[in-house]
């Protein structure tokens, strides 16, 4: 069996084992590859940075625990940036786990900002069912749409942050942390496009390509994409976290995958050529 035949029939478990080895080596011995901030993240940062103190930023935490690893670094850096700029933050979700995800974000960030007070500087409205219809309700009567209570079941009318906030159009910016439906398109349909509310969206890598058209059409301010976007936001904001430290591993892993794809294709085409040369034919590509 030639090396090319071996490549073509390589047990995928060897690939997994090699990838795990690469991860371990680079996590334990990072080489410090250069990281630059892209246009998208820079736009997101500058948008938040330019908001006047006291403005309300709406965090749509429409994701679940399974997506936290990919999205949380960016969400945490943005939330810290908001608190640093003295912006007020309100979180809510159309996903059942979203309220807990917002609470998780706040629990990680608020110890660094002990002067921030629940109900004054930030609020977690939690999950509400209804998806896009609920989002529509937020544009009509926000307090009624959330049933008058927050994530913990306490009445929101007692919180100063709710003063003057009658509709979601009253917020200065929406930061959507989205992974599916309801997500970015639903927000665009009923809130950001008809009411001209600016939105930055934090997305997993898999959703970026299909969301780019909304950026081109001007319906989105910016996309902060995946762990890479999180690392860039950590870099530009100065709030270092897990994303930046993982970028070496991510880069090496991507390189490993590209090498395996090239080797696999070399094996495939070589064997195809060999079969064709020996009269054995070959499958069409």
């Amino acid at each position: 069996m030639t090396i090319f035949e071996k490549l073509d029939s390589l047990d995928r478990r060897w690939v997994f084992a090699f990838q795990a080895l690469v991860f371990c080596i680079v996590i334990l011995k990072p080489v410090g590859l250069a990281l630059t901030v892209g246009d998208q993240v820079r736009t997101a940062y500058e948008t938040i940075d330019s908001l006047p103190a006291g403005s309300i930023v709406w965090f749509g935490t429409d994701y679940q625990a399974a997506n936290a690893a990919e999205l949380e670094p960016a969400a945490l850096a943005i939330l810290k940036h908001c608190f640093q700029k003295n912006l007020r933050v309100i979180g809510a979700s159309t996903w059942p786990e979203g309220g807990a995800m917002m609470a998780r974000l706040l629990n990680q960030v608020t110890p660094d900002f002990p002067d921030k007070e629940y109900g004054v500087d930030f609020l977690n409205l939690g999950y509400r069912p209804g998806g896009q219809v609920w989002l529509q309700q937020l544009t009509d009567d926000l307090p009624a749409a959330v049933g008058g209570v927050d994530h913990f079941g306490d009445p929101i009318s007692e919180y100063p942050i709710m003063d003057g906030l009658n509709k979601i159009q009253d917020v200065a910016l929406i930061v959507g942390i989205h992974v599916g439906t309801p997500g970015t398109p639903e927000y665009i349909r009923v809130i950001t496009d008809p009411h001209n509310v600016p939105m930055i969206t934090v997305l997993p890598a898999v959703s970026v390509a299909v969301t780019m058209p909304y950026l081109a059409s001007g319906q989105l301010v910016s996309i902060v994409a995946s762990l890479r976007g999180g690392a860039e936001y950590e870099l530009i904001s100065g709030f270092s976290g897990t994303a930046m430290t993982g970028m070496d591993s991510q880069s090496f892993m991507n390189l490993t995958i590209v090498i395996f794809v090239i080797l696999g294709n070399i094996g495939f085409f070589y064997n195809k050529y060999k079969k064709g040369a020996s009269g054995g034919g070959g499958a069409n590509v």
Partner: protein
């Protein structure tokens, strides 16, 4: 190495889940069922405490918003799906939901999802002094037109139409490649965070 029991549980769950990469095994099966069960149970509890209970006790109970009985009644009809004899009753709330959904999508989608997107593809094919933008616009316009041609099935594609349709096919292949690469990138990110957890939080290495 961590002294936190929850970190150990997390490490066990992570390694148990990744064990499927070696071969199918009972530990993975148990963890798969555990994940589904936790998600389902969590959704039920959160739905009850975040919306259903406050609505029933607050708006319907104390607020006396009697009109809420209508959606409550329709929701109750859904449970007739479990009865063979009365399953037809569940069609009414379903029809209601489909009607609302269709009307809602039709009225809400036109501008943001169609007109705005169509307008975003109507780009100038010559941007004075900016060759990069000019090339970008050509790529977008040819891409949209050729992919639409690819999905045009009313006439037999021959000659230039067929050639243009093949350009659309190439665009689609590139888009699928980008989507697949994005998916791989996302999975790598998730795996990376898990490895950071195992090596650093659990084993205490490379801190």
């Amino acid at each position: 190495m961590s002294n936190d029991i929850w970190v150990w549980i997390g490490a066990f769950l992570t390694l148990g889940t990744y064990s499927i990469l070696f071969k199918d095994n009972p530990v993975y099966r148990v963890l798969e069922a555990l994940f589904v069960a936790i998600l389902a149970g969590h959704s039920v509890v959160i739905n009850w405490y975040n919306f259903q209970k406050p609505t029933l006790t607050g708006r319907l109970g104390e607020g006396k918003e009697w009109t809420l009985i209508i959606p409550l009644f329709l929701a109750a009809l859904m449970y007739f799906r479990y009865s063979r004899k009365y399953a037809w009753l569940a069609r009414y709330p379903m029809a209601f939901l489909m009607g609302i959904g269709a009307a809602y999508v039709l009225t809400k989608n036109l501008k943001p999802m169609f007109l705005a997107q169509a307008r975003a593809t109507m780009l100038p094919l010559w941007v004075p002094g900016n060759i990069g933008a000019t090339i970008n616009n050509w790529i977008v316009v040819i891409g949209v037109a050729s992919v639409l041609t690819y999905f045009f099935f009313t006439i037999r594609k021959q000659g230039p139409v067929n050639a243009f349709s093949r350009v659309g096919r190439i665009y689609l292949m590139i888009a699928f490649g980008a989507l697949f690469a994005d998916t791989v990138l996302g999975r790598v990110s998730v795996t990376l965070v898990r490895f950071q957890f195992l090596l650093q939080d659990w084993l205490g290495l490379g801190m």
